[in-house]
């Protein structure tokens, strides 16, 4: 129950400033434009047999996934860094809350904000469905995948935010880490084939790709669950470091 109060306070903080409105607007504007132009080119030039499936695969990986990767650091940077800079973290740590409750509340609040982003993107398949109905089941995979991918990005951003008091450093470092996980297999020719295989096991891009195709593979689900768990665990360690460092 107490964690819920913190989630609500986090949401109040998000919506008190202009960030959410501006970024949601920019995100939907950009993906909306890309939706139109990409769909247009697929329809005009047709890529392969299954035009629509190919379109959605590219749209989710290269547009929605990538734009979210850019946007997430803007929302995770303040989670713990801001509390530390202001000193309010001392209040949270001395309230009757466990560290893991604080961490989960921050994680859940940030993820809830991104539900708005995802809800906005539902418009695109809805438009296509209106013109030409299609099988909606692959979209369950696409949205589950996007949610898991978001969870991973937020967990990573939360961890980085726990390391610094500076939001600029938190957001830029998070972006670099997320980008590294995203593009590490883009140039397979540059690395040996064994390394390329290993990299594809840890790359967020490769695991998200399966979901974007409309397939739920348990391996991909497990990958993202582990990705989230790892970064949440690191966050907890970082929060606990005040015990021996003596600083907030």
């Amino acid at each position: 129950m107490r964690g819920v109060a913190l989630v609500r306070k986090e949401l109040a903080s998000y919506f008190a400033g202009p960030l959410v409105y501006v970024v949601v607007g920019a995100f939907l504007g950009a993906t909306g434009y890309q939706f139109y132009t990409t769909l247009n080119s697929y329809v005009v030039f047709g890529f392969g047999m299954n035009i629509l499936e190919n379109f959605w695969e590219e749209f989710f990986v290269n547009k929605i996934g990538f734009y979210l990767l850019i946007v997430v650091p803007l929302f995770t940077m303040r989670l713990l860094a801001e509390e530390r800079r202001l000193g309010t973290i001392e209040l949270l740590y001395t309230f009757p809350l466990r560290d893991r409750e604080i961490m989960l509340a921050k994680f859940v609040a940030c993820l809830s904000v991104f539900l708005i982003f995802l809800a906005g993107t539902l418009l695109y398949p809805a438009i296509v469905y209106h013109i030409q109905p299609f099988d909606v089941r692959p979209f369950i995979a696409r949205y589950l995948g996007t949610l898991l991918f978001l969870g991973g990005c937020i967990a990573c951003g939360l961890f980085v935010s726990s390391l610094t008091e500076s939001q600029v450093i938190a957001s830029s470092s998070t972006f670099i880490i997320l980008l590294a996980f995203w593009i590490m297999t883009w140039n397979e020719a540059a690395v040996s084939s064994s390394l390329a295989t290993a990299l594809s096991q840890v790359s967020t891009f490769d695991h998200y790709h399966g979901f974007a195709r409309g397939v739920i593979d348990l391996k991909d689900v497990a990958y993202f669950v582990m990705f989230i768990a790892l970064f949440l665990f690191l966050t907890l360690c970082s929060m606990g470091s005040r015990q021996w460092r003596g600083r907030r």
Binding site: R2, A5, L6, R8, K9, A12, S13, A16, G17, L86, G87, T88, E90, L91, Y93, T94, F95, P96, L97, R98, R242, Q243, W244, R245, G246, R248
Partner: protein, 315 residues
């Protein structure tokens, strides 16, 4: 209400608190006095569960913080040093959040928040964003969040630092009004604050308690060498010489000289004995004793002395 035994806190090789034992009884206002870096904040952070002690035990209202950290924190209201609150929330929203996190039940929430808003004089700013408030108001919001769940123990780290004199008085009055019902531990490096608000005082230096008493008791105990203001009617030079040679006199400072009246401040090892022999001497010489008044030692002097003496003993 607060029981601390052999508390040690180390950070790496630094020993911030070096074995501290004390008890604060229910309803008492205890002052923690010490120079910057003496370990006051570290002690408070251990008490509030911010971080665990390296060794030793702490119990709040009979609950050991090791056994039940959340239960112990539940009993505490804490105002950290230099508190800055969430600037993007309104005062009422922030207090409601604190009350809820601290386990105030839904039905009571509104009543409690209104109550502390009233008590801390925040009525006219309740709807304002915390970021827009003056420092004095922010400090009051800080105290309001500390007492919103009616804690048994209130821990205030430098509650009046950075406030203007009027605000300082208001905060002190607020703290005093909380004593009795609530057990208060407050830290400060401003001495008058201790004698004005506290029932008891502990002086901390290098992470150790070097004195513990009531403010009055402490100054009494330390009145080994105290000052007396003396005015004597008589020939100037002779009077000064005669006083200077009294056995207990350590130093003598002449304040003013007017037509055969000398005013001076005499510092002696044993004030009462000095005053007795000075009076006898003045009478014997046939001069006039116009004033003989022991000067109360300010806590400031006392503090400096306690710290200095302790260091000398340690060496």
């Amino acid at each position: 209400m607060i029981e601390v035994r052999d508390l040690v806190k180390e950070f790496g090789s630094t020993r911030a608190v070096a074995g501290v034992t004390f008890t604060v009884r229910a309803g008492e206002i205890m002052g923690l006095l010490g120079p910057n870096g003496s370990g006051k904040t570290t002690i408070m952070r251990v008490l509030t569960g911010f971080f665990p002690p390296t060794s030793g035990s702490v119990a709040i209202g009979g609950v050991a913080i090791d056994d039940d950290p959340l239960g112990a924190r539940q009993r505490i209201g804490y105002l950290p040093e230099n508190v800055v609150l969430y600037p993007e929330l309104t005062v009422a929203r922030f207090l409601a959040f604190c009350a809820e996190v601290k386990g105030v039940r839904k039905g009571e929430l509104r009543v409690r928040v209104d109550e502390v808003i009233e008590r801390c004089g925040l009525v006219e700013v309740a709807g304002k964003l915390i970021g827009k408030l003056s420092k004095g108001y922010r400090q009051r919001v800080g105290i309001a969040q500390a007492i919103v769940h009616r804690p048994q123990v209130l821990i205030l780290d430098e509650p009046t630092v950075g406030l203007d004199p009027r605000q300082v008085i208001e905060i002190r009055e607020l703290v005093r009004s909380l004593g009795g019902a609530t057990t208060v531990l407050l830290s400060t490096h401003i001495l008058p604050e201790i004698s004005m608000t506290c029932n008891r005082v502990m002086i901390i230096d290098y992470g150790r308690i070097i004195a513990e008493d009531t403010p009055e008791g402490l100054s009494r105990r330390l009145r080994g060498s105290d000052e007396t203001r003396v005015r004597v009617a008589g020939p100037n030079r002779e009077v000064v010489e005669a006083v200077r040679v009294l056995p207990q006199v350590e130093t003598l400072r002449q304040e003013s000289v007017e037509a055969d009246v000398v005013t001076m401040v005499v510092c002696a090892s044993d004030g009462d004995a000095m005053r007795r022999s000075l009076a006898a001497m003045v009478v014997r010489r046939g001069w006039g004793l116009l004033e003989l008044r022991p000067l109360p030692m300010s806590l400031e002097d006392l503090f400096v002395r306690v710290v200095r003496e302790e260091r000398e003993v340690a060496q």
